[in-house]
């Protein structure tokens, strides 16, 4: 799990070591303290913990675990699978779908998730983001081919 933690927030330790040109506030306070860097690390760790808790409560079917979810929410089927090649981009990638149509998720720096349906808030987990999107969808379906970048 440790390697995954560091992947979640790339190289936080170096950002402390590197004295940046604009690293101090006008009052002389360092803008990124060792304490805040530690908090970043803790945040990354709790993100991993949140991902581990993704298993929807009360389900024990094989294949439903921290790396995936599959449930019906407000009458819509939402599925999510964590990509195995997550290390490529430095952050875990999720393939999430609503009724089989891809729901593109973006990541916030604190490890939370935004969906294409809701861009001005973020959710603790991919499952939360998918549920939030379903609640917004009403009777509509996701359009195919509207991904992110």
């Amino acid at each position: 799990m440790n390697s995954r933690v560091s992947l979640t927030y790339p190289r936080p330790a170096e950002s402390v070591a590197a004295p940046a040109a604009t690293g101090r506030a006008p009052d002389g306070r360092p803008l990124l303290t060792r304490r805040s860097a530690t908090l970043i690390l803790l945040g990354a760790a709790s993100t991993t913990a949140a991902v581990l808790q993704l298993r929807p409560s009360g389900t024990d079917e094989p294949g439903t675990g921290p790396e995936s979810f599959d449930e019906t929410y407000l009458g819509r089927r939402i599925t999510g699978v964590r990509s195995s090649d997550a290390a490529a981009g430095g952050v875990p990638a999720w393939q999430v779908a609503v009724d089989g149509r891809p729901l593109h998720l973006m990541r916030r720096a604190d490890g939370s998730y935004l969906s294409m349906v809701d861009h001005y808030a973020s959710y603790p987990t991919p499952l939360d983001a998918a549920r939030g999107a379903v609640a917004e969808l009403g009777d509509q379906q996701l359009r195919p081919h509207v991904g992110g970048m």
Partner: protein, 289 residues
């Protein structure tokens, strides 16, 4: 030529009609949907490792200033007398204000499917079909105040909290910046797990429907909202004339998590590839009344 942008609540009937007509003309030509697409394409999350120029990033203000300017110029090709008005959401806070009138932007979406059925952008008039969007409905959607998870428009005090910031932006230059004007006005909570959204973000949430998602530009109120955000930036600069108008001054170095992911003051800004510095001052281009 210096144009003047004015508060939408001072618009005459004729001004409303000219603005609406120019927007509809852009929609007819297909140009409007290019703006929608550009905004979708440039929304990059700050946890995703790529360069961010539009959101969760110091260049949030200059990027949207240029985006609005391009839109305004496109409008002016249809009608040279038109400029983008601004919506001061600390003042015009209810669904009853003239902004949402039949002769301007139309009103709230209806309960059943959030479809906007009043005003010039109602689907039934045939002038406003949504094509670049996340969901398959082709009609404009609004859901004022999100009754299922109620949200108010930002208060004057909330906006003042951003305007009082004495620094343009702060490390880590993203949606977790605890200080700095930019993140306070863009409206991301800096504390982990905090799910309160402020100012700019909160307005997107209050209008809701298309304004909530990647296709927010589909709602013409996007422009009036961002014109006010731009005005707030302008006012902030006047209130803090002695601080750096933009930060970071230098690109974050190799060991910095933001290396290659944010624009510094001397950088060129995609997709227009203009010097970011060109957008720090607007008085030679347009003024606010």
């Amino acid at each position: 030529m210096v144009h003047t942008r004015q508060n939408q609540n001072t618009f005459s009937t004729a001004q409303k009609r000219r603005f609406v007509d120019a927007v509809l003309a852009l929609k007819r030509s297909g140009r409007y949907d290019e703006f929608v697409r550009t905004h979708i394409d440039f929304y990059v999350g700050d946890g995703d490792g790529a360069l961010r120029v539009a959101h969760m990033t110091p260049s949030f203000f200059p990027w949207h200033r240029k985006f609005l300017l391009e839109f305004e110029r496109a409008l002016q090709k249809k009608d040279p007398g038109v400029t983008v008005p601004y919506w001061d959401w600390t003042v015009d806070r209810t669904p009853a204000v003239s902004l949402w009138g039949e002769d301007f932007l139309g009103g709230n979406g209806r309960r059943s499917d959030r479809q906007v059925t009043t005003g010039p952008f109602a689907r039934r008039h045939g002038n406003w079909t949504v094509t670049e969007a996340v969901t398959d409905g082709d009609f404009l959607m609004r859901d004022f105040g999100r009754p299922q998870a109620p949200v108010d428009l930002p208060s004057k005090a909330e906006l003042a909290g951003a305007m009082d910031e004495t620094q343009y932006d702060a490390k880590p230059w993203n949606s977790l910046s605890a200080g700095g004007f930019r993140n306070k006005l863009e409206g991301w909570p800096s504390r982990r797990g905090d799910r309160t959204w402020f100012n700019h973000n909160r307005v997107h949430r209050w209008v809701s429907g298309h304004m909530l998602g990647a296709g927010s530009v589909n709602d013409p109120v996007f422009w009036l909202h961002h014109a006010f955000v731009d005005l707030c930036w302008s006012r902030w600069r006047r209130r803090h004339p002695d601080v750096d108008p933009y930060l970071p001054l230098e690109r974050p170095g190799l060991g910095d998590p933001q290396h290659g992911r944010v624009l510094a003051a001397g950088d060129v800004m995609p997709p227009w590839n203009i010097p970011l510095r060109d957008m720090l001052e607007h008085t030679s281009l347009y003024r606010y009344e």
